[in-house]
Each structure stands twice: as C-alpha cells, then as structure tokens.
C-alpha cells in the first residue's frame, strides 16, 4: 500500500503527507503508551501525570535483561518474557505509588504522581548500575547483538526479530518486507493484543466501575464499591501496559534515555495524544499520536522524513526561494525560519484549537457523529489499514 503510493504519480505529495514506516512503528508503541495513559486517566478521571515512570520501567527492564544486568534473567531471556517482567515490575510500582496517591484526587493526584515519577527520573539518571553513563541512558550491548524476537518464545518458526537494523526480512508474495516493516507488523500485533486486552477490561464489570468512578465517585462508593481498590487495580493494569509499550520501544530502538522514557514531558506527549484523539476513547489515543507525529514530521527538517519544507523547496524552485521579500529576507529564508524545526509551534496551535473547538477529540467526535456502536466494530478494521 505504502509502496504503491510512493511509486504513483503523486509520490512527492504522498511522501510529504505520509509518515515513514519508522515513524509508524513509533506511533504504534507510543500509541500503546498513550492508550494505557488514557485507560487510567480517561476512564477513572485520575490524571496519572507520572505515567512515564511505567514506560521507563518497561524500557529499562528490557535493556537491562539484554545486558545481563537483571538477576536471574540472562541476556538470552526471550523478549516476550522481558516484556512480561517489565510489566510485572510496573504493576508492583503502580501499587506502591497508588497506595499513597489514591488518597488524593484532582490536581493533587496529578501532582503527587508527577512528583513520584520525577523522583524516579532523577534517580535513574544517576544510577551507575543501569549504564556506564546513566545520564545518557543504556543501550543494548554486544551481549545481545541479535534482534529481539516477537512471537511464541522458544519457537523460532513462530517468532520474528524486530529493529530497523536487526529485524528479520521476510519474503511474502513476491515482495520482501524489510526489518522495519516486519517490526511494524510484529509490534503492531503486540499493540493490538494489548489494545484488545484493555478494551476488554473497559467492557468488563471492572471497567464499568472505573467509569462509575469517573462519573461520580461518591455515588460509586454509596452503591457499595470500594473505589480505592478499583482505582489501584486500574492503575496497576495501566502501568502494566505502559511498561509493555516501553519494552517494545526499547526492543525496537535498542536504547533508552531518561529523557525519552522517565521524563514528565513523555507523559505530556501521551496527554497530547489522548486529547487530540479523544479522552476516554482508548483507541483515540493512538490516532491522536498518529496525528501529532504526522504534523511534526510534515513540518520537520529535510531528510528526517520528508515533509513540507523539502516539498516547498522543490515546488517553488531555487529562484523563487532566493527572491527577496523585505530587506535581506528571502522567501526561502522565511520559509526556513517559520518551518524549520518549529513543528511544536503548529502542534501547539492545533492542540489549542482542539481544546477550544473539538473538545471530544478526533475519535470522540467521530463516535458522537456516527453513533456509539460503530466504534466498537471499526478499530480492528482501521488498524489493518493504518499503514
């Protein structure tokens, strides 16, 4: 699909608009993180502002295991098991943090979880054990030079390696899928499974209580729910999937840093994604992140995924670019000044507009338009097509 478009007459436009496969892989695992954030924040109404701590936990666990730094688990531990271990550690962490934090609500809850996460962030940044230079974060070392395998652990026929450089290549129906594309499908598979798992929880009796807590916690208590325990449970589940997302990220990238895993702005990106996609819609977060990434990439510099800038340059031609506007500013200079590396500006503007005019987000609005039921059936279909 991607290729067809790229080879078609509108290839320049296509390349400008479509994110690259690498970006799409990022959309998948970070989308999963955003979904897990939405799971707790959008469904119970408790803004988990320190959610990045779970993402980071998952990522670091995978790398530490691969580097043989986690007791009992050698570098040869199957990736799927590492993901699970990361998730379990995150559950433990979520329960610890949650025990204290769920005594609070509203802004105070958001702030105390943020506080905890930042404590972990600073700690991980200074912990020599995780990497020679913990400030820069760990990377998968030579003890695990091969790619991380997704599939049935131990059965090679049913597993494929991920990673741009380490991924397996697969010949399929006459065309070959590159390592990145294989990663896309394999990670997509895990994300899909996780998404359905969370979807399942939301539609379970437990999930309905989460919604009841968001809608009216006082009343939920009055009809007999010990909401404290439900919130803790939801937090643990959400932490688990956030860690899986982090693990996928580390497995694909083969490195992590405190800034791109534990830092509070990572949570900020998840928040952005869920708002744009639709708070409390689960799948919306993924579309929200896709949207965010597409805009960013569209506006990013030449050579880092194509985008508007090189397209405009090519379209306008050198003469137009060199034409001067006022003083010494050329059109090219102006375009460069306004576009080059300033994607955040436009993402911010889009975001502000969303808050003001599309408060329900992409998916929320769509669902409201089309009616509630379609959303249950459609995600699976859309997922297959989203490349």
């Amino acid at each position: 699909m991607y290729h067809t478009l790229l080879n078609s007459p509108v290839s320049a436009e296509t390349q400008m608009l479509l994110p690259t496969v690498e970006t799409m892989v990022g959309v998948l695992y970070f989308g999963l993180f955003a979904i897990s954030f939405d799971f707790i924040s959008g469904y119970t109404g408790y803004l988990s502002f320190g959610h990045a701590v779970f993402y980071g936990t998952g990522a670091y666990t995978v790398i530490l295991i691969a580097n043989g730094k986690l007791p009992l688990l050698g570098p040869g531990t199957p990736f799927m098991l590492s993901l699970l271990v990361g998730g379990l550690i995150a559950i433990a962490l979520a329960i610890l943090v949650g025990l204290v934090s769920f005594r609070l609500s509203g802004v105070y809850f958001a702030m105390i979880t943020l506080g905890f996460a930042q404590v972990f962030y600073v700690f991980v940044r200074g912990w020599d054990y995780v990497a020679t230079n913990p400030r820069d974060g760990p990377a998968v070392g030579p003890s695990h030079a091969e790619g991380f395998q997704i599939g049935a652990p131990g059965i090679d026929q049913l597993s494929l390696s991920i990673g741009v450089l380490t991924g397996d290549e697969v010949a399929l129906l006459g065309s070959t899928l590159s390592g990145t594309e294989v990663s896309y499908y394999m990670i997509g598979l895990v994300v899909l499974v996780c998404y359905f798992a969370m979807q399942r929880v939301i539609h379970s009796p437990f999930g309905r209580v989460m919604i009841a807590v968001r809608e009216n916690e006082e009343r939920a208590v009055a009809i007999g729910y010990n909401t404290y325990l439900y919130k803790l449970g939801a937090f643990a589940i959400s932490g688990f999937f956030a860690a899986v997302a982090g693990g996928l990220f580390a497995g694909f990238k083969r490195s992590a840093s405190p800034e791109n895993s534990f830092y509070f702005l990572v949570t900020g990106d998840a928040l952005l994604a869920s708002i744009i996609g639709g708070f409390g819609t689960l799948a919306g977060s993924l579309y929200g992140h896709l949207f965010d990434e597409t805009v960013r990439e569209f506006l990013s510099k030449a050579g880092q995924g194509g985008g508007l800038l090189p397209y405009l340059r090519a379209l306008l031609g050198q003469e137009t670019l060199d034409a001067t506007l006022v003083g010494e500013t050329t059109i090219g200079g102006l375009i460069d000044l306004l576009l080059n590396g300033h994607a955040s500006l436009y993402v911010g503007l889009v975001f502000v507009l969303f808050v003001l005019y599309v408060p329900d987000g992409l998916l929320g609005t769509l669902r409201a338009r089309v009616g509630g039921t379609f959303a249950d059936a459609l995600p699976a279909k859309l997922w297959g097509d989203s490349e």
């Binding site: 539609h203 009343r219 208590v221």
Partner: protein, 270 residues
C-alpha cells in the same frame, strides 16, 4: 432493622444531630423537620458518609445486631443500606440503564472480574430493566442520565438505590423539585417499594408524608421532638409550631443551600 443510640453529630459548635435514639422496623417511616433540622446529616451518619461525634449505629442482619458505627460507606452499602440523594447524584454521562446496572453489579462477586465482557452478565441487565420498569423509566433506558428531566432523575435516584438489593432503603426527598404531575407517580412508587423494603423517607410534602407513612418522626434542631402515627404527629402542638404551623426561629438552613453551588468550589476530578 436499623437502630441508633445517642447518635450525635457536631460541626464545629453546631449540633446538627443531637443524641438521637431511633429504631426502624419493617415499615415506612417518614423523617420530617424544618430545613437544617439534621435529616440529611442523619442519613449521612447511617450510611457512614460522616462519622458521628458520639453514639452508635447498628444494623440487624440474620437476627443479630451488628455495630456499623464508623463503617465506611461502601461497606454499609454492601451490608444493605442504600439511599437516594436529596440533590440528584447519578452517573451523568452513563445511560440510565448503565446507572442501574452498575449498581446491580455492585453486590455480586463478579464486580471485580476484568476479563469477561459485561454483556455476558445478562442477569444484571435483566434486573436493571426490571427496576427501570418498576420506576417507569424503561423508555429512557438508553438515554444519558444527564439528559433526563428533573423528575425523571429523581426516579433514577430511587432506581439506583433499589438496585442495591437493599436491606433498608433511605430516601432523601425523592420529590424535591418534582412537578405536581410526577409527584403522584413517585408517591405510588414509594408506596410500592415500601411493600418490599423497610423505608426511611425524608419528605417535605405533607400530603405524601401523611398519606403513605406508617410512622412519622420529627426532627428539630437535630433532636427528635415527636414520633408516632401520622395523625398523632400532625396534632402535636410542638410539631405544629416547629414545622407545620407558624414560624419558629431556630432552623438554620434551607434546602437550596446545597443547590446554589459555587462554581469555584468545584474540584477537578480529571
């Protein structure tokens, strides 16, 4: 069913509930009294939403009295004390059916199940439908609770309380703000419900109180000033002056306090 001994609640210097000894049998008992008499506070003490300054609350289960003073609200609810609220307090962005269904689900062992779809638990849904039928809301089942009219919301309040499979039902002004046409419906509903459960009813509409109650208790400045069959209470001169008849200084508050909310006091839940 439910009894209190010396139940007292003070807010700062204000004694909102003043050593109340009260016992509810299998009956429809009304609790009346001027605004600010302490009726809602009394409810909050029974359900554990507030803890008393002094005194005890006990619930009879399986023939023995169990002390439930200071037990948290979700536990009193799971022990069977269910209430409707004076100020509508439902799950606004859930459907009417879901409001009742989630309350149904609360007292089942499957409430914590997170791997099975709710739709598999048809029994909850069926019972929720039955309750909606009973309160006359089944035609609105699929609508969001926030879109209901005031009167319909009052019915939903009762429905949610009923869904708890109560041992005791506490109804706090189910008629508050209900237009006259609907008053009769709710009144019928109360009477019907009282056939099945012991009911403690707070109500300002004297037509209803006098018409449906087996017994009326009058609260004034936190204390019980009369207790007996409706006719007796109505004739009681203290009650006449404190509540039914002429004005008597001392009632501190009015029912609109709770309603005229200050937008700034809303704490973000997000």
């Amino acid at each position: 069913m439910l009894r209190t001994q010396g139940l007292t609640k003070e807010f700062g210097g204000l004694v909102a509930v003043d050593s109340v000894d009260f016992e509810l049998d299998a009956e429809l008992c009304s609790l009346i009294g001027p605004n600010g008499a302490g009726k809602t506070t009394f409810f909050n003490l029974l359900t554990g939403s507030l803890s008393p300054t002094e005194g005890t609350v006990e619930l009879r289960r399986n023939g023995t009295w169990e002390d439930i003073t200071n037990v948290s609200p979700h536990e009193t609810a799971s022990k069977g004390i269910h209430r409707s609220y004076q100020v509508t307090n439902v799950f606004p962005n859930s459907t009417v059916l879901e409001n009742v269904r989630v309350a149904e689900q609360a007292h089942s062992d499957d409430a914590t199940t997170f791997w099975r779809n709710v739709d598999r638990y048809e029994e909850f849904t069926e019972r929720a439908w039955a309750i909606l039928d009973r309160v006359g809301l089944s035609h609105r089942a699929e609508d969001l609770a926030s879109t209901l009219s005031h009167g319909a919301k009052r019915k939903l309040e009762v429905a949610i309380a009923l869904a708890g499979d109560p041992a005791v039902l506490l109804l706090d002004e189910p008629n508050a703000g209900v237009s006259s046409e609907s008053v009769d419906e709710i009144r019928d509903l109360i009477e019907a419900v009282a056939e099945d459960y012991p009911v403690l009813l707070v109500e300002h509409n004297m037509d209803i109180v006098m018409g449906v109650s087996d017994r009326v208790v009058v609260l004034h400045q936190g204390a019980v000033i009369a207790d007996g069959p409706p006719a007796d209470v109505r004739a009681n001169p203290d009650v006449q002056s404190a509540y039914l008849g002429g004005y008597e200084p001392g009632s501190l508050d009015d029912d609109t306090t709770a309603v005229g909310s200050d937008p700034d006091s809303e704490e973000g839940t997000a």
